[in-house]
């Protein structure tokens, strides 16, 4: 089974600064998908960014970007110009290629991000 590891239970960043959240994963597949989700206290998981493993270019969405290192099986999230509204739990997730056994997400344990004024 694929495992997703987030080694930072908590991170803190000052407003307007940059922070990087780490994620590593284990898989024997060559083609897969990776996601970062944000979960605020409302509990609803919100998609932040996604990356297809076959694409070498790192995904970017406004202030959010990833550093995807396929050989190292690393998928870190960089948040630039942090805002108070970025404070939340962040989950890294892996989705295996299409298969008969489904294509649900495999989540890490999460990183709690605190943003200070």
């Amino acid at each position: 089974a694929q495992t997703v590891t987030q080694s930072q239970p908590e991170m803190s960043v000052q407003e307007a600064e940059t922070v990087t959240l780490s994620c590593t994963y284990d898989t024997s597949e060559s083609d897969y998908y990776l996601f970062w989700y944000k979960q605020p206290p409302s509990r609803q998981m919100i998609l932040v960014i996604r990356q297809e493993a076959y694409k070498q270019q790192n995904a970017t969405e406004n202030r959010f970007s990833v550093n995807f290192q396929k050989a190292a099986k690393s998928f870190s999230l960089k948040i630039s110009d942090s805002q108070l509204g970025d404070a939340a739990m962040y989950f890294c997730a892996y989705r295996r290629p299409n298969s008969n056994s489904g294509y649900a997400l495999n989540f890490g344990k999460g990183t709690s991000l605190l943003v200070t004024p």
Binding site: V4, M45, L105, F107
Partner: protein
């Protein structure tokens, strides 16, 4: 578009009682997922439906958990009888077919078993 609807938002029951959660996915989303999120952990898949058929229920504790999606639209997850360790948030998500373009989650039901 309307999001994924879940109810109830909170539920407190005693151990050995039964409980049911309801989910209505985004209109047109063929695939529906139920996840269990224990405090301090990431969500764990319980069951995945494609229309009204089960694709993956390998992690569903079938001796006490059951789920159905009879008409391929809304779904119900049931626990009977509940144990203390079932205390968690139960999240429902849906996706357009295989989730290639992402998944939409509901706000979950927080279950407390006392």
């Amino acid at each position: 578009e309307a999001g994924v609807a879940q109810s109830p938002r909170y539920k407190i029951i005693e151990k050995r009682q039964s409980v049911a959660f309801w989910c209505n996915p985004i209109s047109g989303h063929a695939t529906l997922y139920w996840y269990q999120q224990i405090l301090g952990q990431g969500p764990k898949l319980l069951i995945q439906f494609q229309n009204n058929g089960v694709v993956d229920d390998s992690q569903l504790p079938k001796d006490r958990f059951s789920a159905e999606r009879l008409k391929g639209v809304d779904s119900t997850l049931k626990i009977q009888p509940a144990k203390l360790e079932d205390s968690a948030v139960y999240l429902c998500a849906s996706s357009l077919d295989t989730g290639f373009y992402g998944y939409t989650f509901g706000s979950g039901t927080r279950l407390t078993v006392v």
